[in-house]
Symmetry: C2
Subunit: 213 residues, 2 copies
Amino acid sequence: MTHLAPLDAQAQPPTPREAEILDAVRHVFAEKGFDGASMQELARAAGMSVGNFYRYFPSKAAMVEELIRHDLKDVEAHFARVASAPDPLATLRIALAERVRNYAEMCTDAPLRAEITAAALRKPELAIVVGRVEREITTYLVRAFGTATGLDFDTAWQRFAAHARLIVLLVKACTTRLRIGDVDGEALTVLILRQIDSLLDEVAAARPETSRT
Amino acid sequence: MTHLAPLDAQAQPPTPREAEILDAVRHVFAEKGFDGASMQELARAAGMSVGNFYRYFPSKAAMVEELIRHDLKDVEAHFARVASAPDPLATLRIALAERVRNYAEMCTDAPLRAEITAAALRKPELAIVVGRVEREITTYLVRAFGTATGLDFDTAWQRFAAHARLIVLLVKACTTRLRIGDVDGEALTVLILRQIDSLLDEVAAARPETSRT
């Protein structure tokens, strides 16, 4: 995790506690919000002095980038499996359905994600970080679309980048929706999965006739 | 605006500056975040002493409820027009398209909305407030669906509450999406409007054969 190397890495060897530090930071942000969390609190939670902490994270935006990049590794691994599957779109359908269902049931990281989105809309430096990561996720999806349809990346991007973005929005929407009284959560989940399916159907329709199943 | 009456309304007549106070509060929340904004700052922005301010807003959650209820009045007026239109679903389609297009272009209240969503996921007292308001919006939509299809409210709710919720989610998703590099915003907007249309088509299909246009 090169991002977490201290700024003067020559002088001090990298710490082995990165995952622990990120967990502590994640917890404080989720509980206090981006603006409510002070550098003092964040450093204390990570078990570090404020001075030392600043050497790892020059700003709260840098911390957030590290947090979402950490999560992105899971996403990357998922997409690697999708791209190498015999039927990438079918594998993607299953993976997205799992993700929507897990979010709907657990939603443990929903507060942090919502907090990052909100802070990004207020703070341009954070919007750049979040935009960069969202761009990467869109790229993974479009690459999978390209593999599945036989379109080259640029053509796939031109035709289906918006499809990829909307799929990400729908999955994210599941994480932030509040549970309200008597609306049947299961009916909403089914509807969202149906919307995702119809977007993937449109992508699949770009496959040459002979290779369609 | 009865919510804004001071707690001991007998002792003091209601202030005529409510809209001004709400604007000031909205601005501070949008800039500093829910947790970053202190009661002192909020009171100062509203031009009131902290003591007096507490009499109007016993908590930040109470302020947020007042803010979203204020916005809800616009929504209510929109839905009243939809319900009394000759073709409620067609009118709703146009109104939602306008809303999505306006959000995509202006997004001025996106930071505040995202902030409220994020804070609600962290704070149960705020989740109750936001859930109550979202429930009301869902009810307006389902009522419009009932009027359009001739279904009674309970049947319309059972069949289409999830449709209503997803439409709200899609419109909200437009407010929070970040603009990223080369993804064509217009293509995404078109896709979202198409999704909303397909949900409304499903509602329209519940109309008795004879009354379909």
